[in-house]
Amino acid sequence: MTTQISKHDIQHMIAKRVAKELKGPLTVNLGIGIPTLVAAYMEDDSIYLHTENGLLGVTDVEEPDVDPNLVNAGKLPVGEAVGASFFNSSDSFAMIRGGHVDVAILGALQVDETGVIANWAVPGKNIMGVGGAMDLLVGAKKVIVTMSHTAKDGKSKLLKECTYPITSTRSVDLIVTELAVFEVTDGKLRLAELMPGASIEDVREKTEAEFIEQ
């Protein structure tokens, strides 16, 4: 149907779409992967990036200015904005868990049809890492999920029910894939938008979860 586009292009298309959602002033926490790419597309000066390892005011950094002790939650080098502040991990998570971060943008392995996500563990493997995912899910005022619409095996990642362990009982607010944008309202998915090049048939075919079409 659509011409094959690269994984790189898909990721950037999703990131660009998410960036459109962000109207400042906002404090935003970006997860690892696609969410990190969102920063490059944000156009509003009054969006402040929070990273849970202890910085409000994350910026990009160019190679000559890389500081090994200034990194984001993905352990990638970052810069600090004018007006930034540093704090310890419990103060950082107090911001998250206390509801002071406006938006969290996260990746997910699965989303169910009520907007509950699984993004930290796979059954049958040892449960080895959770990081700040559960904290962000309960604490952020708004949660946006970015992910590919289907898994490597072609199966939908938008399911009737998550088969992986859930991250929180809280429903996310928005889901952006390479095919569609879904809003979650009253525990139901609603197709808000088709992504460039995607058709409603694509979305129907590749979405196991029930969703409202308009």
């Binding site: 910085l55 090994p68 002790n69 080895m128 990081g131 700040g132």
Partner: protein, 228 residues
Amino acid sequence: MAKQKHSAAEALAAVKSGDVILVGGFGLVGAPLTLIDELTRKDVNGLTIVSNNLGESGKGLGILLNQNKIKKGIGSYFTSNRDVGDKYQRGEIELELLPQGTLSESIRAGGAGLGGYYTTTGVGTDLAKGKEEREIDGVRYILEKAIRADVALIRAHKADTLGNLVYYKTARNFNPLMATAAKTVIAEVDEIVEPGELDPEAVITPHLYVDAIIKAQQVLTKEGVVSR
């Protein structure tokens, strides 16, 4: 007084087998690399290590792991070291996985003398299994217990000779919390200055928390960990 020690070995004199040890850092950033290195040379075992992660494969705390000195790990992200999973699979290590916010809050609670606290993080998930759940004012919470330790190994930027500490950028992370939650707190720093050189408004760890200070000899640079 005389908090300043001449060597990492001297600073670690109090560490013994079976100890619960808090280790600062988020990956290598803000990790007390010199003290960890020395700990791998020390003849102790059966340690419980509380740290966000257990190093990387064969690096930092990863060496201690491969030496079978770690009985139990408490952290939020063991994924950074594949050896942890293998050891766990073989039943050679006990693990307690906590959300990162819970890990940091529990250490703070330990330092503040609290028994535990109610958090919404983890409610309804596999990590809430076996934990008490209760509703307060209509919201579901789980009970998380405070974490306290025998020893804390931390990394700061500057110390004064009294033991006041300031940190550097995102190398701060868990270190100031850990400084409050152990009987013996050992800090490695880039620089040791005279009292009065740190701004009293900007001191992050007041000196009453700190027992020993050494100068860092293993340092994280753009080129990786370097001895100096």
